[in-house]
């Protein structure tokens, strides 16, 4: 099921929320159980067979989590006081990891303590590695088998037939979530979750299940077993959900029309302006689609009492690609940083090793986005840019006026999305060539029509990519709350605006299903 479907907002969501709040807050386990049941229904909707993959993943990781947690606890108990202290520090320590990894320290401290400990920890490590391999094997099997076969066929001229394995929805997201849990338990950052329902609810929680953000277990561990309903949090959840819904339906889906129309044209014939318009449209589409989805997920999480970390922070206002990746899909970048880049040595093993680490991380980031070579190229493209920025360019950009950084970043970002959006390399090459001087015509009728007829949409998208709307809303809210009775006025105003956005989104959504037949029925 997806958020932008009628079944979701007219049936699933009302029923799920209604029953959730019928269950008294003191029965949090019952609420978790209800969320688990609802999430499984959400997940299996349309393709029930994948519930089996999901169920296996839950049990597999739950068991390994318990085993690793048990070994960890045993080791900690036998460890001398200093290690335990370190361990405690790691629990409160820097969540974002970083190079001074507290968990790493705890691990080292524990490592020194006694031979028996070392043996137990080695067993914990083995269990962790096995579990991570298991998770990657599931992900690899469903997501990359055909990609691998296709690549082997291409390289060796083989005729192996593709398996056509359908990709279970969200598998890339929940696999990364469970791996974060397993590794954190191994590092001693969090205790293993003994409550099976709470753990299963964490893995399946429908808000972030199919399109992120990637919620790390450590970030919600406390909320899973001890959250309280808070009216302001629920209201904020509704706010975020409607904003996300509007971004997805009113902006992303509509601007997609332009990209779709342009890529359906004969790419050899498109003009310079049309090529850029299409690329820009896709740039807007992917941002509003993805960040809209994250907004909806974060909003739904809040309604049920979960605070997720933000996933997007106005990425298109960046002044460098380095900054862009600190603002785009933040839960994925921080995941790769913490679980791949830092363990590989990060920047602590010399420049050459650091550059290699960056290259590895970005190849994997690309591959994570899809089982196709263009995604790898896309990842490497950013890897190379980030390395160049790290070595020279950032310092130069700092000295330039802000607009240089903005233009530089936007051009590279838009180009990146063309690589991302066109899986066929020859089409991609044609398209990019037309963006950079290869077009015979500068401006054509198609451009003039598409740009003028949807000029407002493009303008809304441009404004929506900046924090402008948010700032205006905050200022209005501050002004109103300062007035007597202003809070009620603000509430009314906000309800009218948000529900208008929601209603308009529904209008566009329903219209999408509205398909009159031109021909007489037969």
């Amino acid at each position: 099921m997806v958020f932008s479907s009628s079944v979701f907002f007219m049936a699933f969501l009302p029923v799920t929320v209604f029953i959730y709040f019928l269950i008294p807050e003191r029965f949090l386990r019952a609420r978790n159980l209800w969320l688990l049941a609802a999430s499984l229904l959400f997940y299996g909707w349309g393709e029930p067979k994948y519930i089996a993959v999901m169920a296996f993943s839950i049990v597999f990781n739950y068991v390994f989590g318990r085993v690793i947690g048990h070994l960890r606890e045993t080791a900690d108990r036998e460890t001398a006081l200093p290690a335990a202290e370190d361990n405690a520090k790691s629990l409160t320590g820097d969540r974002a990891g970083g190079d001074e990894n507290a968990a790493g320290q705890a691990y080292c401290a524990a490592d020194i303590a006694g031979n028996g400990n070392r043996k137990i920890l080695r067993r914990a490590k083995l269990a962790m590695v096995l579990c991570v391999i298991g998770n990657l094997a599931i992900l690899g099997f469903f997501k990359y088998t055909d990609f691998l076969i296709g690549t082997v066929n291409g390289l060796l001229g083989g005729q192996l037939s593709l398996l056509h394995i359908a990709l279970p929805i969200g598998i890339s997201f929940y696999t990364f979530q469970t791996m974060s849990y397993i590794i954190d338990v191994y590092w001693g950052k969090v205790a293993a979750q003994k409550d099976f329902i709470a753990f299963a609810a964490y893995v399946t929680l429908f808000p972030q299940l199919i399109a992120g953000p990637i919620v790390r277990y450590a970030d919600v561990a406390v909320m899973l077993v001890g959250r309280k309903t808070n009216v302001e949090q629920v209201a904020e959840g509704i706010r975020r959900f409607i904003i996300g819904f509007g971004k997805k339906v009113l902006l992303a889906n509509q601007v997609y029309v332009i990209w779709n129309e342009i890529t359906a044209m004969d790419l050899e014939q498109i003009s310079f302006a049309t090529a850029w318009l299409g690329a820009l449209a896709f740039t807007f589409q992917i941002y509003f689609d993805f960040s809209g989805y994250s907004d909806m997920a974060i909003g739904l999480g809040k309604i049920f009492g979960f605070d997720y970390l933000e996933n997007f922070n106005y990425p298109y206002i960046s002044r460098s690609i380095t900054e862009f990746w600190r603002r785009w899909h933040m839960s994925l970048s921080s995941w790769f940083k913490e679980y791949v880049y830092v363990p590989l040595g990060g920047n602590r093993k010399g420049l050459a090793r650091q550059l290699l680490n960056i290259a590895i991380v970005w190849a994997l980031t690309g591959l994570w986005h899809g089982a196709s070579w263009n995604f790898v190229v896309w990842g490497m493209y950013f890897g190379v840019i980030l390395i160049i920025e790290k070595l020279w360019l950032l310092r130069a950009l700092d000295k330039c006026p802000a607009c240089v950084g903005h233009v530089y970043s936007l051009i590279l970002i838009v180009l990146g999305w063309v690589i991302f959006g066109l899986t066929d390399f020859s089409r991609m090459a044609t398209y990019i060539a037309h963006m950079f001087g290869g077009a015979a015509v500068l401006v054509d009728e198609s451009f003039l029509y598409l740009a003028t007829s949807r000029v407002w949409l493009l303008l809304f998208c441009a404004i929506g990519s900046t924090p402008l709307v948010k700032r205006v809303c905050e200022r209005v809210a501050a002004r109103l709350t300062a007035m007597r009775g202003g809070e009620i006025l603000l509430g009314a105003l906000e309800s009218v605006v948000l529900l208008a956005v929601f209603a308009l989104s529904i209008a566009f959504l329903v219209s999408g299903s509205y398909n009159p037949f031109l021909y007489f029925r037969f």
């Binding site: 009628s6 509704i238 709350t481």
Partner: protein
């Protein structure tokens, strides 16, 4: 800062809104057939284990809620009005043209050139085989409304290269091609369409078909083409000679007003209106030549015989264009003239040739729905007319054509490139 009141207001209004949607959809009666969309809406899905497991229940549930949501056309209308207000020139594949006209949008990417040229070739082959045995073939490709009304489209509107399509057609078919571009454009620009017909245009403002006057222009050009091919000596020296159509001189079409155009309905909201449901659009008039309303003929379709091609019950329904024949069928036979009763009987025998008692010939029309409002003009020119819709006809058109003096291929030019045409299938058989 305490924001409890603000929060409660938002929560309560949101819950009420969602509750209104859900309860409203539940209690409003289910709609079966949607006139606007010309299709049956999804009924409440059946909950069975099988349907859940194979995903059918889930798909139907989504369709059901979309189709039966409370105030469905209001939602669609809201969308269209928002888009129109923002200056979007096309909604749901339809251009919003000037003067409340809506026009089907066919872009270069929509138009299948390969299929178009293949279909042209098929028709050219059929023409050659007909001509080899003394028959005649004409092909009339009706230009799109977007072509005829191009000056009324949103600026820079995207269209497929229709002039090139006509050049291709002329290359493939030579003077068998009846090209209406000039006639239609002149009728629009010099105001004759507006003067002569109740509807005022050559296409309906809200439907993808040509209007009664548009069909008349087609008829006039058709007669001209017949005359050019059948009276070859007339151009040279004005002498008559025996021709394929029984040695009769083919006259030019009478002026439109002489045909006593009669308004069947002035309350027609067509298929393109249904696509956008914009309240700014105004209704059209359905017009037909008066002579056809009183002519004596027999129509056979779907195994039934009727004495009129007008199915007046459709005038009370949404799709009033279906008043002509009640829609499209694989094969429609029309027997005209005194010997109707007998001819109908022999027709069912299947072995008769054209009734030439009155010197009129027989015509086979290979067509889409454009022909339905065109045929009424022909009732005085033929003794037998058969219409074949290749989308539904399962027999061999090539064999069937042998029984007729003339063949007319009549399609909207964009339909002629359409995937449903299956021209090759019915011609090769």
């Amino acid at each position: 800062m305490n924001m409890k009141k603000r929060s409660w207001i938002l929560i309560i209004t949101s819950v009420l809104f969602l509750a209104f949607l859900c309860v409203g959809t539940l209690v409003t009666p289910e709609v079966g057939f949607s006139e606007n969309e010309n299709r049956y809406l999804q009924a409440a899905p059946k909950l069975t284990v099988d349907h859940v497991l194979n995903g059918r229940f889930e798909t139907q549930a989504e369709d059901y809620l979309n189709d039966q949501i409370i105030g469905r056309s209001l939602w669609v209308r809201t969308m269209a009005m928002t888009e129109a207000a923002l200056g979007v020139g096309d909604i749901n594949g339809v251009y919003l043209a000037a003067d409340g006209r809506v026009v089907k949008r066919v872009t270069e990417a929509d138009f299948d050139w390969d299929r178009y040229r293949k279909n042209l070739k098929q028709v050219a082959e059929l023409a050659e085989s007909r001509e080899a045995s003394g028959g005649r073939l004409y092909a009339m490709l009706v230009p799109t409304a977007a072509y005829v009304y191009q000056q009324d489209l949103p600026s820079h509107a995207m269209r497929f290269d229709e002039d090139r399509a006509f050049t291709d057609a002329a290359d493939a078919l030579g003077d068998r091609l009846i090209d209406l571009r000039a006639a239609m454009q002149v009728a629009v620009t010099d105001g004759s369409a507006a003067r002569e017909s109740a509807d005022g245009g050559v296409f309906f403002r809200t439907d993808h078909h040509w209007s009664g006057y548009g069909a008349y222009l087609g008829y006039a050009e058709f007669l001209q083409a017949r005359a050019a091919l059948s009276n070859p000596l007339r151009a040279d020296g004005g002498e008559e000679s025996p021709t394929a159509s029984g040695g009769v001189m083919i006259p030019a079409a009478a002026p439109y007003a002489k045909l006593a155009p009669t308004v069947l309905s002035d309350d027609f909201y067509g298929t393109l209106y249904s696509k956008v449901l914009l309240p700014t659009l105004t209704k059209d008039s359905v017009e037909t030549p008066g002579a056809a309303l009183t002519a004596k003929y027999r129509v056979r379709l779907n195994g039934e015989t009727y004495d009129s091609l007008y199915f007046n019950e459709y005038l009370d329904k949404k799709d009033k264009y279906a008043v002509y024949f009640g829609g499209n069928y694989d094969k429609v036979d029309i027997e005209i003239g005194a010997a109707t009763g007998q001819a109908a009987q022999t027709a069912s025998g299947g072995s008769e040739t054209a009734n030439r008692a009155d010197g009129k010939g027989s015509l086979l029309i290979l067509k889409d729905s454009f022909a339905n409002s065109f045929v009424p003009y022909l009732l005085d020119d033929y003794s037998k007319i058969t219409m074949i819709d290749s989308r539904y006809y399962r027999g061999s058109v090539t064999e069937l054509a042998e029984d007729y003096d003339e063949v007319l291929v009549l399609y909207g030019i964009d339909n002629f490139a359409g995937e449903k045409l299956q021209l090759s299938k019915s011609l090769i058989k």
